[in-house]
């Protein structure tokens, strides 16, 4: 006989033990007189161990616990976009309406507005054979995003009735001949990846508009990247830039155990920012999850799953989705905290032994897939990592680096020099260039990969030369090496540096990136020629057109100007020979 009511035996922070309840692993239960939401995370004989998503102060042993038969799920359907949720998909706006500005507890809130009417336009007809994932209609959810209403993954059959019109998300819009009723809202358990037909190898870059990323360390749509870095090195600014400028169609931004004000900033800013890819407000394509550092840790643990399930749902509609998790270290710490309350045997640095498998499972949910309906969709995951003391030999960084194919390593030294983005070009890497080269050749320039190779080679040579300079000063180097240093300096200052807050330069299209890289190589060639003919390095470097070429990137319409500026530079460098 199953029993759906038990009693609390023990409370230790967010972990509550109950007896007398028949619950399944990961089942959602209601804890105490206030019916706080929790999830069963361990079963020991008679005892069910529950992580509770709200503060447990004041709860006593002996209070009731109820099982719900449900596993932790999210509501999926029109109304997700532009929302900001906590870690268990409660809309923060609803919480404010009910609780005021401070988050108290004991309030349930639906992830979707169940009342709001949407205009459903059916795209399937009576008699059509449909199966899981198939699109049966659409809703224009925001200016830019058409929400596709899909048959839930496990349903299939012949359409008996389907109707266009105004519906809320719980009203039936379609019935199948076996009696299955389909609503615009689906629920999906967050800890289960949503199904798809097959994974494809990524072959298209996620264009981010950040030169160092797109040009040197590109990420593929459907790929996964890790951004480790000490505090203040630029993880959040980078993630926010990606949320603003990357050419994903949908962005899921998870603030996991980080600052409240950073989420507020996104909320303030995004409605006014224009998506460079569509010309419409960025908010239209964005879903936010905010479970800040001072909100309950169990909900922080859940927040990344809530986020990625929403991302997969949009992927299933055929969209390219980018998900940012800032910071996965705080998620791992939530696991550690819960695990230690469970008195589990700790692994490295107190993290649970299953840390690396959880990380792997999470990043595995990224991918470019053939969806159930045969369409093409992707989830790209970008996870920030906050290693203690900035030392990435720790378990979360290492666990992440073993899985992701792109490593954007932020560097405290560069941040201190105010070289932004402070991504270290010497130790960062991307394993995607091979699979993306074709795309760059076809869409940007046939010699794109070769130009990239030259640029990174120059940076490597610079690093070697710098070691010598540290010992003897740069004047002691031969002229050709001094020129190399100047060229590398140009790469750093003009190309790699990109202020995330600059109104113009924060976004740089790939064509412009290529043109800028070319301009640097042209400078190098011309300077070499001129110096061979007797010009002085300092004159060559200081030709006004080169300074202008570099400065002009802060003004609109730069791409169109580059060619002219380069010509001018070439001619001035030529003149510097005659001046001798």
């Amino acid at each position: 006989m199953s029993n759906n009511e038990g009693v609390i035996y023990r409370i230790s922070g967010p972990v509550v033990t109950a007896t007398g309840i028949d619950a399944r692993m990961y089942e959602v239960v209601r804890v105490g007189h206030e019916k706080l939401m929790g999830e069963v995370i361990e079963i020991h004989g008679e005892q069910s161990v529950i992580q509770v998503y709200e503060d447990t102060s004041g709860i006593r042993p002996g209070e009731p616990v109820f099982s719900t038969g449900q596993t932790l799920s999210v509501q999926l359907g029109p109304g997700l976009l532009t929302q900001i949720y906590d870690g268990i998909q409660r809309p923060l706006q609803t919480l404010e309406e009910v609780m005021g500005v401070f988050i108290t507890r004991g309030v349930d809130a639906d992830g979707l507005d169940l009342e709001k009417k949407w205009t459903f336009e059916s795209t399937a007809s009576v008699g059509d054979e449909v199966s899981g994932g198939q699109v049966i209609g659409t809703v224009q959810e925001t200016d830019t995003i058409t929400h596709k209403i899909m048959v839930p993954p496990k349903a299939s059959g012949k359409i008996k009735s389907i109707e266009s019109g105004e519906f809320n998300v719980t009203e039936t819009v379609c019935t199948l001949d076996d009696g299955t009723e389909i609503q615009m809202m689906q629920e999906w358990p967050v800890r289960h990846p949503r199904p798809f037909n097959q994974k494809y190898a990524p072959d298209t870059p996620l264009v981010t508009g950040m030169r160092i990323l797109d040009f040197l360390f590109p990420l593929a749509k459907g790929g996964a990247a890790g951004i480790p870095g000490p505090f203040g090195s630029g993880k959040t600014v980078t993630q926010q830039s990606l949320a603003k400028y990357s050419d994903a169609q949908i962005v899921v931004y998870i603030g996991c155990g980080e600052r409240g004000n950073e989420m507020t900033e996104v909320l303030d800013e995004f409605p006014h920012l224009i998506d460079p890819n569509t010309g419409k407000p960025l908010m239209n394509r964005t879903v936010m999850i905010a479970n800040t550092s001072n909100m309950p840790v169990a909900a922080r643990e859940a927040s990344v799953y809530t986020g990625i399930t929403i991302a997969e749902y949009f992927r299933d509609q055929g969209y390219d989705v980018a998900l940012m998790a800032d910071s996965t270290s705080r998620w791992a710490e939530a696991m550690r905290e819960i695990s230690s309350r469970l008195e589990e045997m700790p692994g490295e640095e107190g993290y649970p032994a299953y840390l690396s498998s959880r990380l792997a499972e999470f990043y595995e949910r990224a991918g470019r897939v053939e969806t159930l309906n045969g369409d093409d969709g992707s989830v790209t995951v970008i996870g920030a990592v906050s290693p203690p003391g900035g030392d990435i030999s720790e378990p979360v960084s290492q666990g992440t680096l073993r899985i992701v194919k792109v490593f954007w390593g932020l560097d405290a030294g560069l941040a201190r020099q105010r070289h932004f983005p402070a991504i270290n070009w010497l130790n960062s890497y991307s394993l995607y260039p091979q699979s993306l080269n074709q795309w760059f050749r076809d869409n940007i320039a046939s010699d794109f990969p070769e130009v990239r190779t030259e640029i990174s080679a120059l940076l490597k040579v610079e690093a070697e030369l710098q070691e010598i300079v540290q010992l003897v000063g740069s004047d002691a180097l031969p002229m050709d090496q001094q020129l190399t240093l100047e060229v590398a300096r140009m790469i750093r200052v003009y190309f790699l540096q990109q202020n995330g807050f600059d109104p113009v330069d924060a976004y740089s299209g790939v064509e412009q990136q290529y043109a800028m890289a070319r301009a640097i190589l042209t400078f190098q060639e011309e300077a070499k020629k001129a110096m061979a003919a007797g010009a002085v390095l300092e004159d060559v470097v200081n030709v006004p057109a080169r300074i202008e070429l570099m400065r002009a990137r802060f003004a609109e319409g730069y791409l169109e100007k580059i060619e002219g500026l380069v010509e001018e530079m070439v001619s001035q460098i030529g003149n510097s020979v005659e001046a001798q």
Partner: protein, 460 residues
């Protein structure tokens, strides 16, 4: 609720008392313990079950034996709050320490404090003029920000904190801050220094002090900042005050946290500090900010001393991961006789971008502070090189930068303990000092600004 007294203590370990055979006790409930000599101690429930209750004793377990009587008070820890807190000095557990009467409560507030809904926050954007050039120009403080001082033992962080508390104001406004001061494990001497200064300047009347000193119970330190922040929230969000919370020393707080963790035999994290220290600190630091629909604000100025001057130590490290920047005090500058010895290079104010510029401070603020920073950073780097290869190896540009770094420390960073510089004064000083470098080397400044402000290139 009249409650029963239990005499069922089984174990006593460090600051923890374990007892059994109780009626159901609430998690987080407040406890009083009556010792055999008749004195009482207070504590809080850390773990509760049908079989065993674990109580953390704020005053330490010294003198408790198994015959001690334990009463559960039926509620979580609350602070009586009212406007009457202003002008008062309380101890680390919230009892009057100034000989005055008990606080007459308007209400009682849960000291753990609920999280501010991120949706309900407002982005801080009001510039606070501290009168300290290194801060106002390079590490601008914003109302509602949490900006710690990373210091180390023997450095004048207290003087700096006090100078800021005295001078902080909005530009062109006389609106003052209410100071909530929270001492955690500092020495009586340090405390007297703070108090005397607040008294001298009359600030004490506009301040609430919560004081746990070095010889006060270590475990009590875990609640002292929570009391202070609860008072701050009440004053800011119920009475529209702009509150500046100064707490010192976070390092003592963290050490108490470590002590509890050890007594509970928890698996320790880095350097023995508990794995949940990040979350615990966030529960304090995140209680800063501005919320929609309320006039007041909470600005936090925590002070911590970095053990071994090491910024990667867990205390500064985890703090830096939560706060919105940091002001780093440098031993090297202090030893060179410079006050305030603020090293602007590792210092950062993350909210600065949104609060400086034409409308709030001045149109040149952003660029001039970038230029000051860049020039100083380069000069400092060159010092290292010069030590190896000598000045002769430097070109003209580098020589100018090198000289500038000394000027920067001597004229810009250095100022008097009572010297209150306006932001205009600070920015003008930047121009004056940068005039020591040829304009062609000032890459971060544009011609427009140069012709507007540069002392010798200016076009009137």
């Amino acid at each position: 609720m009249t409650s029963k007294e239990y005499k069922t203590i089984t174990d006593i370990k460090g600051p923890l008392v374990f007892l059994e055979k109780t009626e159901p006790v609430a998690y987080g409930e407040i406890v009083t313990i009556r010792l055999s000599d008749g004195s009482t101690k207070n504590g809080q429930v850390l773990d509760t079950s049908d079989d065993m209750v674990v109580v953390q004793v704020f005053e330490g377990t010294e003198g408790i034996d198994r015959r001690a009587g334990v009463k559960f008070l039926g509620d979580v820890f609350k602070l009586p709050v009212s406007k009457g807190l202003v002008g008062r000095i309380l101890d680390g557990a919230g009892r009057p320490r100034d000989g005055g009467p008990d606080i007459v409560a308007d209400e009682k507030a849960d000291i753990i404090g609920a999280a501010i809904n991120p949706y309900s926050r407002q982005s801080p954007h009001d510039f606070i003029q501290t009168g300290v050039s290194a801060i106002d120009c390079c590490t601008t403080l914003v109302r509602g920000q949490k900006l710690p001082i990373f210091s180390a033992s023997g450095l004048p962080h207290n003087d700096i904190a006090l100078q800021i508390a005295r001078q902080a104001k909005l530009k062109d406004s006389d609106e003052e801050f209410i100071v909530v001061f929270c001492a955690m494990g500092i020495t009586a001497e340090e405390y007297n220094f703070f108090r005397a200064d607040l008294e001298r300047t009359g600030a004490l009347e506009n301040a609430a002090l919560f004081v746990n000193l070095a010889d006060d119970p270590a475990v009590e330190r875990l609640i002292t900042p929570r009391l202070a922040l609860t008072a701050a929230e009440y004053l800011a969000f119920e009475h529209d005050y702009h509150v500046l919370v100064i707490y010192t020393d976070m390092t003592n707080y963290c050490d108490s946290l470590r002590q509890i963790g050890a007594a509970r035999e928890e698996v320790p994290g880095r350097r023995g500090y508990p794995g949940y220290m990040y979350t615990d600190l966030a529960m304090l630091y995140e209680r800063a900010g501005i919320v929609k629909g309320k006039k007041g604000s909470i600005t936090q100025f925590p002070i911590l001393t970095m053990p071994g001057d090491d910024i990667t130590h867990p205390i500064p490290d985890l703090s830096g991961y939560i706060t919105e920047g940091q002001i780093v005090i440098s031993r090297e500058l202090h030893q060179a006789g410079i006050y305030p010895p603020i090293n602007v290079l590792p210092s950062l104010s993350r909210l600065m971008g949104g609060c400086i510029g034409e409308e709030t401070t001045r149109d040149d603020h952003k660029k001039i502070s970038d230029q000051m920073y860049a020039a100083y950073a380069q000069g400092r780097e060159l010092r290292g090189l010069v030590a190896i290869v000598g000045e002769d190896a430097l070109n003209e540009r580098d020589l100018q930068y090198l000289k500038f770094s000394d000027i920067f420390e001597d004229k810009f960073v250095r100022q008097g303990r009572d010297e209150d510089r306006t932001i205009d004064g600070t920015l003008n000083l930047c121009w004056e000092l940068l005039a020591n470098i040829d304009t062609k080397y000032l890459e971060r400044l544009d011609d427009e600004l140069i012709s507007k402000y540069h002392p010798t290139e200016k076009k009137e």
